[in-house]
Symmetry: C2
Subunit: 325 residues, 2 copies
């Protein structure tokens, strides 16, 4: 069985456990859209990561890990509300909650999901439950801060590289740091190990987000479900955009700015941006930045106790970051 | 010093403590609207109630009670999002967050407030912190459920009295039961006492909400800041509305239905509804229902240990429910 088959098995298990949270819950007007939002799916990488760290540090593999499910709920809460804030109609090909129902339902079912996340988090008692809840809560607040920066960046063209990295550190990396640290805590790992797990999750999240930015325009369109160049079309402040502002000549930047976010953008214009990116080695530079965090994640794994079996974590890291571009 | 002066002193203390939560917080784009929402104010009855139960069961009066502040934040979170769902432009004479800023800011600052609520809740460790967090979380989910029922009722004319009471039990009473129970828990009260506190909070909340419904049309307009008959104008499913559907003849109900929620409703029409309410003794019946819960709250106070000094709690109850109508 190769690793992605194993990931699928984990995913199915997690989906079953998530389903059971919604059985016979009332009022339906609240729980139906909550369940719908959860069922839109995704790869469940956060609870899987939580489980991997839990087992790595000697947790019982057969145990349902409620904090892992809680983190998946937390992640889905952010998606439901982000879709409202970004005015997105579709998520993974399905109508978003506020489009399928209405704005109120979108707001309220997001609130319901975050409430349920805490309820699930509290289902089981661990020796260091206090710290688990604290890390979970810090993650939630951090994601809100990250989303605020992201919204702020929409109206600015002078976002620096440091600001951008800080933003994705809050918005994306936090929700990978939390499951890693929580998984370790649930298994009773020591402070230093928990810290390593958390740093690993952060590095993984930063690498993942920069890769995601890259894949918008550098990826093989067929391999990646997203529309080619959609970030460019939206004028999204991605890592590539930030580097463009930093590196391009006045003239090229003028061209870039006139295209990025333009209404009725053409494929040719997107390819023109791609050429500009290539001219300044922006895609390469972004790739190097992602590689830096991948290396950091790997070296953090390497720093763990020699007696631990890190093979699953190594495979997971590779699997998370192997997407072609 | 009469009791409402004392309530004002408590309120100012709580306001100061709330302010300190927002010092130098960044990003401003997130924390400014959060602070604004908190500063719109209100009487801070929830943290005050929490403090009263805390002192009643022997808690140190000088101690800042973070769970009390957390509950006030939780309450304000519900207001920010409810204002979006109800499309309300004003709250206590101030622009609502999503109107003063925009929809995204409304959604996100609500999310930020609930995150901060948990962060503040976790600031201090109590012997029974687990249970405090659990009660807090159950309250949050219950409020979401109550809000869902409330939204559902908007599209229905056949809401029963039982359904209505269940809804306000979730939406209003839960957030008075939580501070009462949490205050008792923070002070180390026993299970039975905590249960009594919680039941008291619920009874108080039900009485309060039914009175609030009553005051829309039965209150002395000058005494009460709200526009006379605004619930009638909105066609809101209040306790009075529910009783109208239950008690009125077909013909009177036809008249009532043609007025409630009508666009461009006149003062005469509102007075016509008032007359119909009077004809069926609806205001009286609602008053009796409120009185039932007031009595229940009082009898719960009476059931507490004789050695406890309940004078403050008694005064608080009277103060909460004394509004003229």
């Amino acid at each position: 069985m190769d690793f992605s088959d194993r990931m699928n098995i984990y995913k199915e298990e997690i989906n079953d456990q998530l389903q059971s949270l919604f059985e016979k819950k009332k009022p339906e007007i609240l729980y139906e859209p909550m369940k719908y939002a959860i069922n839109i799916g995704g790869k469940r990488v956060r609870p899987i990561l939580c489980g991997i760290f839990f087992r790595l540090f000697g947790g019982d593999p057969a145990r349902v890990l409620y904090p892992a499910l809680a983190i998946e709920l937390l992640h889905n809460f952010t998606l439901v509300h982000d879709d409202i804030m970004d005015d997105d109609d579709l998520r993974r090909g399905n109508k978003t909650v506020h489009v399928k129902w209405d704005l109120s339902t979108g707001v309220l079912s997001g609130d319901g999901i975050v409430s349920l996340a805490y309820k699930v988090l509290l289902k089981e008692k661990f020796e260091r439950s206090d710290e688990i809840i604290r890390i979970f809560t810090d993650g939630l607040l951090e994601v809100c801060e990250g989303q605020a920066y992201d919204k702020e960046f929409e109206t600015r063209t002078d976002v620096t590289e440091e600001e951008y990295l800080e933003m994705i550190n809050n918005k994306t990396a936090a929700l990978l740091a939390v499951p890693a640290a929580v998984g370790a805590l649930c298994a009773g790992a020591g402070d230093e190990q928990v810290e390593t797990a958390r740093d690993y999750g952060r590095a993984l999240g930063l690498a993942f987000q920069i890769q995601d930015d890259l894949l918008d325009i550098a990826g093989d369109e067929a391999l990646f479900g997203k529309t080619y160049g959609s970030d460019v079309a939206e004028g999204k402040k991605t890592y590539l955009y930030i580097l463009a502002v930093k590196l391009m000549s006045r003239q090229d930047l003028g061209v870039f700015m006139s295209i990025a976010g333009k209404e009725g953008i053409t494929r040719d214009e997107i390819l023109q941006v791609k050429k500009l990116y290539d001219k300044y080695g922006i895609i390469e530079k972004a790739g190097e930045e992602a590689a830096k965090y991948i290396k950091k994640a790997e070296s953090l794994i390497g720093s763990l106790d020699n007696e631990l079996d890190c093979s699953e974590l190594k495979q997971f890291t590779e699997w998370m970051l192997k997407r072609k571009f």
